[in-house]
């Protein structure tokens, strides 16, 4: 059996009395495009920060590619790429200088770092402003640069926190193609996004976190089957006339599955009457 690319056991993070993430047991196989979903404040960012070494876990264990992150941080970090929430950019470098710098931080030699920098700038369509400082880039350009930096060393696992936010449709298409190619070559991608359509289109497997606890994990089909089974069981005990989960012959969308699992069904028309 393959060693999981990402595995956590009872991963927990507390901030004082508040438990942001509690007993999360994740398992992501190599080569999976894994979507990590949850409502705002559910613990997504906290989890991804712990997985990438940006935040210490209060308890529990993180293993990436079979290595314990706490015990072998440098070895683990050599094999992962990260686009964190803040993008980790150095504003007063040019795009080329930044990529060169990141490449060398990940142990690439000068020539390789330079060659990959040129290729990535070209691929991300960032080569047109060679002297522009990163701080003067638009948000979308910064996002592309951050993604380029995350892959410059050819990571085996890529962590992406909202990677498509602020990226235009053309660039978004290019990036998705690049990520699919990485998956085809055996890399693992761990992605968080609020845009469920993107997650549905890209990810083969999903996990949903809610109020700090992992409430679902599996392939999209498995999650769909689970929700439908639950709905069917509920229907059996319900009075006639109550609506079913989906129209006959129609598959549940990820958004519907997500809402069923996290229970996000508040009706605005019944509240906030002053909104008119």
């Amino acid at each position: 059996m393959d060693v999981p690319a990402i595995a956590t056991q009872a991963l927990t993070r507390r901030f004082g009395d508040f438990v942001a993430v509690q007993d999360v047991n994740l398992s992501v196989s190599p080569g999976q495009f894994f979507g990590f979903l949850g409502p705002n404040g559910a613990g997504k960012s906290t989890t991804i920060k712990m997985l990438t070494g940006l935040l210490a876990a209060s308890s529990g264990c993180i293993q990436l590619l079979g290595l314990d992150l706490a015990k072998n941080p440098v070895e683990v970090k050599r094999q992962i790429g990260v686009v964190p929430e803040g993008m980790a950019l150095f504003g007063r470098l040019t795009g080329a200088e930044y990529l060169n710098f990141v490449g060398r931080m990940y142990g690439l030699d000068r020539e390789t770092a330079g060659k990959r920098t040129a290729e990535l700038l070209d691929f991300m369509q960032l080569a047109e402003q060679p002297k522009t400082l990163v701080t003067d880039y638009s948000h979308g350009m910064q996002k592309k640069l951050a993604l380029a930096a995350a892959v410059i060393h050819g990571p085996r696992i890529l962590f992406l926190d909202e990677p498509f936010e602020g990226v235009d449709a053309i660039a978004s298409g290019t990036l998705k193609a690049m990520l699919q190619r990485m998956i085809a070559r055996g890399a693992t991608i761990f992605l968080t996004s609020h845009v469920l359509e993107i997650v549905e289109r890209l990810c083969s497997h999903l996990a949903i976190i809610h109020k700090g606890r992992l409430v679902a994990q599996g392939s999209l089909e498995e999650l769909r089957a689970g929700v439908e089974a639950q709905a069917a069981a509920a229907m059996a005990g319900a009075s006639p006339g109550e609506s079913s989960v989906s129209a006959p012959g129609e598959k549940l969308t990820l958004e519907e599955i997500f809402l069923r699992i996290v229970g996000g069904t508040r009706h605005a028309d019944q509240e906030l009457s002053w909104l008119g």
Partner: protein, 553 residues
């Protein structure tokens, strides 16, 4: 400004803003750092209080003296410094203090009069306004004691003068803010500011030079220029009071009216600036995509520093890129030579009041080098401050903090080495080439002090980081804890250096100081290595706090 009235709606908005300022202050006290900042501010408040009350007493006494000794025209001599302090201090202090950007309030449904008033009041209780008002109060009381019948008139004139100063300070800030909103203009302003500061340093030496000899042309120019002083607000305020004392009420009223006209003109300029802000101006700096010829450009390879591991060399290169793109930072590196030049231009040994370098030119090299080190401590004690969100990369990349700090320390040590060489050459030109034993003692002394500062700097950079922007004009203050700790370290370094020099002097051999400094440097290097080896675990333990500070918007 028509339609300015306090409706309940406006009062509600003002109350909400006041409340949010208070809540920001109270919430700031939740952290130990926030509490330490308040204690430090308390000390500053005390210092300003003493300066305010002392200045008020001194100005009051001087005003009383001038008025009661029929030298009332000399009141202008008192009002000009008040005016200059009121206007220049906030600009200089803005490089050290954090200013709240009240233009953020524009997203709320504020009317223009409300916005105008808020901008006028917000931050108006700064030290310069408080001190300026206190000093003017002292002046008014001094005049009132000397001429009780004129107290009300003097108070009215000085209130108008105070209003003019408040409006001018807000107007200058509103325009400076406009220029600071964009990186390029911000950097230009920074460079202009530092040139101004450097030029300012030369006033003393030049004045003392001029003062030592008779310069008829200087006296002639002064006599010609002096009458024009009276057409500016400080001169007008003095004129309005002086003429009233002499019983010439029409010219006094005319001077007062002109003073008010100045205030109105400034009010109009402020109105123009704030209205532009209110109507929304686009200060975006994002570059547009340009169409340029296709084809791969050659990418310059990273630095190759022999004997230095790749990641350390990469950090070294990055630090140099950052420093070379910081105009203000580059100017601070010029300062040691500027300071030497100031001493060189000042009174020489022949004069009784000659400065100490004129009496002991052998000290020029140690003094210049020590100054270079002092300037460098700005970088050393907050070495992650400029990395901001880039700090995340250090945590996710496979590089230890030992290597990261080594790269940064290497960059700072190289900068200092270059500075010391430049100072040595400058001393050679301005005074005489430093003797071999002085050079040896200075270099070893600097090495010891650098190691000690790097050790403390590495610890403080991890424990009390503060986000800064090398390219920005203001908000570049390290944390107050760091400032006080750094002062303590400098006191210890200078104390040890003084003891060492005294020992060397007792033996009559300067090179003994060099040997002692070498031993001290050896001891300091042990501490340095110990801290460097612990840096990784400390940085990992502190990562939440570090990232929270450096990654904040």
């Amino acid at each position: 400004m028509a339609g300015l009235s306090f409706s309940p709606y406006m009062r509600g908005q003002f109350a909400a803003i006041a409340r949010v300022r208070w809540q920001l202050f109270v919430n700031g006290l939740r952290t130990i750092r926030g509490r330490l900042e308040v204690v430090a501010r308390g000390f500053m408040f005390l210092a300003f209080g003493v300066a305010g009350l002392g200045g008020s007493l001194a100005l009051g006494f001087a005003a009383w003296f001038f008025v009661s000794h029929e030298k009332v025209e000399w009141l202008a001599i008192l009002l000009w410094p008040v005016f200059l302090f009121w206007q220049l201090f906030p600009v200089m202090a803005s490089a050290l203090t954090e200013n709240v950007d009240s233009s953020n309030l524009l997203r709320f449904p504020l009317s223009f009069p409300s916005y105008f008033l808020i901008r006028l009041v917000y931050g108006a209780l700064d030290p310069s306004t408080a001190l300026g008002c206190l000093w003017l109060l002292g002046l008014a009381i001094g005049i009132g004691v000397a001429q009780p019948g004129l107290f009300l008139w003097a108070a009215l004139v000085l209130i108008a003068f105070a209003i003019f100063n408040i409006l001018l300070a807000r107007m200058i800030f509103a325009w400076v803010e406009r220029w600071l909103a964009q990186r390029r203009t911000r950097e230009i302003i920074g460079v202009v500011f530092f040139i101004f500061i450097i030029c300012f340093q030369f006033i003393g030496p030049l004045m003392s030079r001029i003062g030592r000899h008779r310069h008829p042309e200087v006296s002639r120019i002064t006599t010609q220029v002096l009458p024009y002083e009276r057409v500016f607000p400080p001169g007008l305020a003095a004129e309005a009071i002086a003429r009233a004392i002499h019983g010439a009420f029409t010219p006094a009223l005319a001077a007062f009216a002109l003073e008010c006209a100045y205030a109105l003109a400034i009010l109009w300029l402020l109105n123009v600036r704030l209205r532009a802000q209110y109507q929304g101006e686009n200060l975006s700096e994002a570059v547009a995509r340009t169409s340029s010829p296709k084809g791969k450009r050659a990418i310059r390879l990273g630095w190759n520093v022999s004997g230095v591991p790749g990641p350390v060399a990469a950090i070294l290169e990055k630090e140099f890129h950052y420093l070379s793109r910081s105009g203000p930072m580059l100017f601070t590196f010029v300062m040691p030579v500027v300071i030497l030049l100031i001493f060189r231009l000042g009174p020489q040994a022949s004069a009784k009041q000659g400065n100490f370098l004129a009496h002991a030119p052998d000290l020029a090299f140690p003094v210049g080098s020590a100054y270079a080190l002092l300037i460098l401590t700005n970088l050393v004690y907050n070495c992650f401050g400029a990395d901001a969100v880039g700090m995340q990369l250090f945590y996710v990349s496979p590089v230890t903090f030992r290597e990261i700090l080594l790269g940064k320390n290497l960059a700072h040590a190289l900068v200092l080495a270059c500075e010391v060489v430049v100072v040595w050459i400058a001393v050679g030109f301005m005074f005489h080439p430093p003797a071999a034993d002085v050079t040896f003692a200075t270099v070893t002394g600097v090495a010891f002090a650098l190691l000690l500062n790097l050790t403390a700097g590495n610890l403080l950079s991890i424990y009390t980081p503060k986000k800064i922007d090398y390219g920005a004009f203001g908000k570049q203050r390290a944390s107050t804890t760091t400032v006080f700790a750094s002062l303590g370290i400098q006191a210890a370094v200078f104390g040890l250096a003084a003891v060492t020099l005294l020992i060397a002097r007792a033996f009559g051999e300067v090179w003994i100081a060099g040997v002692i400094f070498l031993i001290l440097a050896g001891l300091a290097s042990i501490g340095y290595i110990l801290v460097l080896n612990r840096a990784d675990s400390i940085a990992l333990n502190r990562r939440d706090a570090i990232l929270a500070e450096l990654c904040r918007a």
